[in-house]
């Protein structure tokens, strides 16, 4: 890891939202470093701040109601949060691109997919044969019968096909970072497998860095080399994927792993985490996980834990060594 080249550095990122009902600290002190060509996964449940973190990487959070309350996002050393409009536009097209959960929402329903892809290419790349490039991209993402498919409107394609088109659009500019936010959650199991295989292949072939955002721990084990676990706007644990999954340290990660029913499990009762994900408007004092934590003690209720590093692993828990 020490030898790999740093591409993206997030430092103490804070993204807050002013809402009628109060201030939501959606992301509150997130930091990580994504090396060139690496695949990382950001894992957590709904409302933990993983998608807001992803959007912040290209300063895509709606302002207002959102605002950047602190921290830096450095892409090759330049702070994205301080860029001007023009610079941001170049960044969004050329260096970071996104694939979201619902391809049907991201594609424009009134334009043929070939046209939408061509637009993406024209916007970001000069001196290429646009038509050839559209076909090449569609072939690269494994869209069968690309010649005729490029003349179709989005609704004529299945969810899996639409997601392939979205991936093609995201790759049109040959980004350095691909952010995939729950890219397979809306798809059927057999189609999920196709898309995941496609992402893994493209990552290898194009050498881009991938940040995979997901709630599915099963998914990340085979894909990501490093895992970042988020809870209530913070990264509570991070480390090399298999190492972390085999020996989770944070009580939340432990609970989450124990709560996933296993394909091969027989008989025994799986236990969930008590309570539910906290309301972002009313986060508890101290460690944000303490009301649900079976190991919570007095200090957990009063003092928020800080990052504690141990080799390549980091955890935010007062008591991880004892439990």
């Amino acid at each position: 890891m020490a030898l790999s080249e740093e591409l993206l550095r997030v430092e103490d990122l804070r993204v807050y939202f002013s809402t009628e009902r109060g201030l939501v600290r959606a992301v509150d002190g997130v930091g990580f470093v994504l090396p060139k060509g690496a695949t990382y996964a950001l894992v957590g449940e709904s409302g933990c701040g993983k998608s807001v973190t992803a959007l912040a990487l290209a300063r895509l959070v709606d302002e207002p109601p959102g605002y950047y309350a602190g921290g830096r996002v450095l892409l090759r050393g330049r702070n994205v949060l301080e860029m001007e409009e023009g610079e941001l536009r170049r960044l969004r097209g050329n260096e970071i691109s996104y694939v979201f959960q619902e391809p049907a929402v991201s594609l424009n329903p009134v334009f043929r997919i070939g046209y939408q892809l061509a637009e993406a290419i024209r916007l970001h790349r000069r001196g290429v044969n646009v038509r050839e490039e559209v076909l090449a991209l569609l072939k690269m993402v494994g869209l069968p019968d690309a010649e005729s498919k490029m003349k179709e409107y989005p609704h004529r394609l299945s969810g899996g096909m639409q997601q392939r088109v979205m991936i093609a659009m995201a790759l049109a500019c040959r980004p350095a970072v691909l952010v995939a936010d729950e890219p397979t959650t809306a798809l059927d199991v057999t189609i999920q497998a196709q898309i995941l295989e496609l992402l893994a292949r493209l990552q290898r072939e194009l050498g881009m860095a991938v940040l995979l955002i997901t709630h599915n721990l099963g998914l990340v084990a085979d894909l990501a080399e490093r895992l970042l676990v988020m809870y209530a706007g913070r990264i509570v644990e991070a480390g090399p994927t298999l190492d972390l999954l085999r020996g989770p340290r944070h009580p939340y990660t432990r609970g989450l792993l124990a709560a996933v029913p296993r394909l091969r499990s027989v008989g025994g009762e799986v236990r969930g985490i008590r309570g539910s994900v906290p309301n972002p408007l009313r986060l508890p004092e101290g460690c944000k996980f303490h009301p649900r934590c079976p190991f919570a003690s007095d200090i957990c209720r009063r003092v928020e834990p800080e990052d504690e590093w141990d080799g390549e692993r980091v955890v935010r828990c007062h008591r991880w060594r004892e439990i």
């Binding site: 199991v189 497998a193 085979d222 091969r264 009762e269 236990r271």
Partner: protein
């Protein structure tokens, strides 16, 4: 505690025989359910697995007569319910309850939780007011909520709590069969298991027969003794969950199981022979001749294109709709396409 054998020996509570649900008449109807037979006994949970559009939700709805069937029979407790109407139908629908994926849409936002339960208890059970208040508290406690929550409104609850309320409402009429259609897929992982455990506890306590419809194979494994795999309106494989998961015989079941991310396999560093299917999940409007799975099947042979396989008994309680069940071998050959 009953043993597996005793459980199988008892008469099924809910049965379907060669059930068909077609939409749109004429020469080319959409065959959402095309000749499905099943039987669920008291205290038993049968899992129904399949991808979007395979007909599993329509089958669930047809079983409680929310969809009209085009053919076949529905039998409840030994009595034919296929043509039941009026009071008989209303009584039947009370004894079979259904819960759905989305607990937000299922609850009236203007009605407090207590009022919603009270309404069911008054209308369906005709209980006097004092009795209803007592039962409301009992029901909330049965699903792990406090009785004092009766005065609150749906928006004051989390997704998991709302699903508990939906379950309480289904239990209010004291059903004997529960059809659960993707009951946890909208919930967070840490909350899913709470609801699954609740359903397991209620099944034990009330000796419910349950049809558990889901796309998540690990969740189905956790809940069910028997599973049925549905594809294109048909059951393609069924049997004891243990047997089907450890040695799936239909190529589709194999692909489905191998497509699920397997955390244990990854953690143990085992490489899995993953079958990545080509092609799309078919829509019911597509015309497919022969075996409905043949366009995507890595083991396809000439016969599969021409002749649709019947659901054949392979061993006790184990049925597979594949011409070549038992002859496939371990690897997808010879037509496996790796892109």
């Amino acid at each position: 505690m009953k043993t597996e054998d005793q459980r199988v020996a008892v008469r099924p509570l809910l049965e379907a025989h060669d059930l068909r649900v077609y939409f749109g008449g004429g020469k080319a109807p959409l065959k959402a359910v095309d000749g499905v037979s099943l039987a669920i006994a008291r205290g038993e949970t049968v899992g129904l697995v399949g991808e979007s559009g395979c007909g599993k939700t329509t089958l669930g709805r047809a079983l409680m007569r929310l969809e009209d069937s085009t053919g076949g029979r529905i039998v409840f407790d030994g009595v034919d319910m296929t043509g039941a109407a009026g009071r008989r139908l209303r009584t039947f629908r009370r004894r079979v309850q259904m819960i759905f994926q989305d607990p937000h849409g299922a609850l009236n936002p203007r009605m407090s939780v207590g009022a919603a339960l009270d309404e069911v208890l008054a209308v369906a059970r005709g209980l006097p007011a004092r009795e209803r208040r007592r039962r409301t508290v009992e029901l909330l406690e049965a699903v792990g909520l406090e009785g004092a929550y009766a005065g609150r409104y749906p928006h004051e609850f989390s997704g998991g709590q709302r699903q508990r309320i939906v379950i309480a409402r289904a239990l209010a009429v004291e059903p004997e069969v529960l059809i659960a259609d993707e009951p946890v897929s909208a919930l967070d992982v840490s909350v899913q298991v709470q609801i699954l455990n609740l359903l397991r506890e209620l099944r034990r306590r009330f000796n419910l027969a349950m049809l558990f419809i889901a796309h998540d194979l690990a969740v189905v494994r956790y809940m069910c003794e028997r599973i049925m795999v549905m594809y294109y309106g048909r059951i393609v494989e069924e049997g004891p969950a243990e047997a089907v998961y450890s040695a799936p015989e239909h190529p589709y079941t194999r692909a489905l199981l191998s497509a699920v991310p397997d955390l244990d396999a990854s953690l143990e560093g085992r490489r899995r022979n993953r079958i990545i299917l080509k092609g799309e999940v078919p829509t019911l409007g597509e015309r497919i001749t022969g075996c409905p799975f043949h366009p995507r099947c890595p083991w396809r042979r000439a016969r599969c294109v021409e002749e649709e396989p019947a659901l054949r008994e392979r061993s006790a309680g184990r049925r597979v709709a594949c011409h070549f069940a038992g002859e496939l071998g371990d690897d997808a050959e010879p037509e496996r396409e790796v892109k």
